[in-house]
């Protein structure tokens, strides 16, 4: 049982909140998955011995 009485236009209210939630969830999922993908690719490149000049400089004693 829904705890609120949303009146005769409840469908419009629920749809608005559901669509907003879906769009925000999509944004969050895109950013999280993109982060994982970029980190994985970087690790693969570094494992293959590809390093930038700044990385090499950072590792100097």
């Amino acid at each position: 049982m829904f705890p609120m009485d949303l009146g005769p236009h409840a469908g419009f209210i629920v749809a608005a909140y559901a669509i907003a939630l879906a769009v925000v969830a999509g944004l969050i999922a895109w950013i999280v998955l993109d982060h994982r993908a970029q980190v994985r690719i970087l690790e693969d490149l570094e494992r293959a011995g590809i390093r930038s000049r700044s990385d090499a400089r950072d590792e100097l004693p």
Partner: protein, 244 residues
């Protein structure tokens, strides 16, 4: 840390790593409080009934849709005038987030309009100018994806963004300049808000929550973009090493 040090991507990443967890917690708390106030405390409107609850997501989304383009415009100046290394990263990553909030604004506006006005859509000045904002976001995103070199894409996108900024005052003042079905400004106006505090306070809390969400998503997307550019650099180095 001085502001100028943020120009260094590694300093920016270090700051982001520290700030993001706090931003996530603050965003969740703000949404918990805002949604509780909006759904369980705020009264129904005397004319619209419970459909006024759509306002608590529609209005903050509209503000952030416009704020996203304003942020992109400031970043465009940073790209063209000062050539700040993070300016085009900020500009590029704000576009999809601003587009998403503008989409939420358009869809929730249509769903609010049907029971209130009797129609999902009219081609009046406010609705049409916001639709144009959404289409401009799509255009900028397409431009970024079309030009492979990030610095060339940044300059083209910066020019398009600054031209598109003309639409922001049109959106804001469209309800004053033309006869529209959309109501005039009722929160940000000279003479103060016309909304009763029991509805205004939840609206402002939701606006803070949406703003925190925007900042959190934007910083995260900027961090991803810096990683993507690093990947691009390393791939170019690998290609150069393979073909000396």
């Amino acid at each position: 840390m001085r502001l100028s040090e943020l120009a260094n991507p590694s300093h920016f990443n270090a700051l982001t790593e520290r700030v993001l967890p706090w931003l996530v917690v603050a965003t969740m708390l703000a949404f918990a409080l805002g949604l509780y106030q909006a759904l369980f405390v705020a009264p129904d409107d005397y004319q619209q009934g419970a459909t006024v609850k759509i306002m608590f997501i529609h209005v903050p989304s509209a503000w952030l849709g416009m704020m996203g383009w304003a942020l992109m415009s400031a970043s465009a100046l940073g790209t063209l005038v000062w050539r700040h290394p993070l300016a085009d990263v900020a500009m590029k990553t704000a576009a999809p987030i601003g587009a998403a909030f503008t989409l939420i604004c358009l869809v929730t506006g249509a769903l609010w309009g049907r029971p209130t006005w009797g129609t999902y859509w009219v081609w009046d000045a406010r609705l049409t100018s916001v639709l144009i904002l959404f289409l401009m976001y799509l255009g900028v995103i397409a431009l970024w994806r079309t030009v492979e070199d990030p610095s060339r894409a940044a300059r083209a996108a910066a020019v398009l963004t600054l031209v598109g900024a003309v639409n922001l005052p049109i959106i804001k003042f469209s309800v004053d300049w033309w006869n529209t079905l959309h109501q005039p400004a009722s929160v940000l106006r000279l003479g103060g808000s016309t909304i009763y505090p029991t509805i205004l306070v939840p609206l402002l809390i939701m606006a803070v929550a949406f703003t925190l969400l925007f900042v959190t998503l934007h910083l995260s997307a900027m961090r991803n973009e810096l990683l993507r550019r690093r990947v691009r650099t390393l791939r170019l180095m690998r290609a150069a090493a393979a073909n000396p």
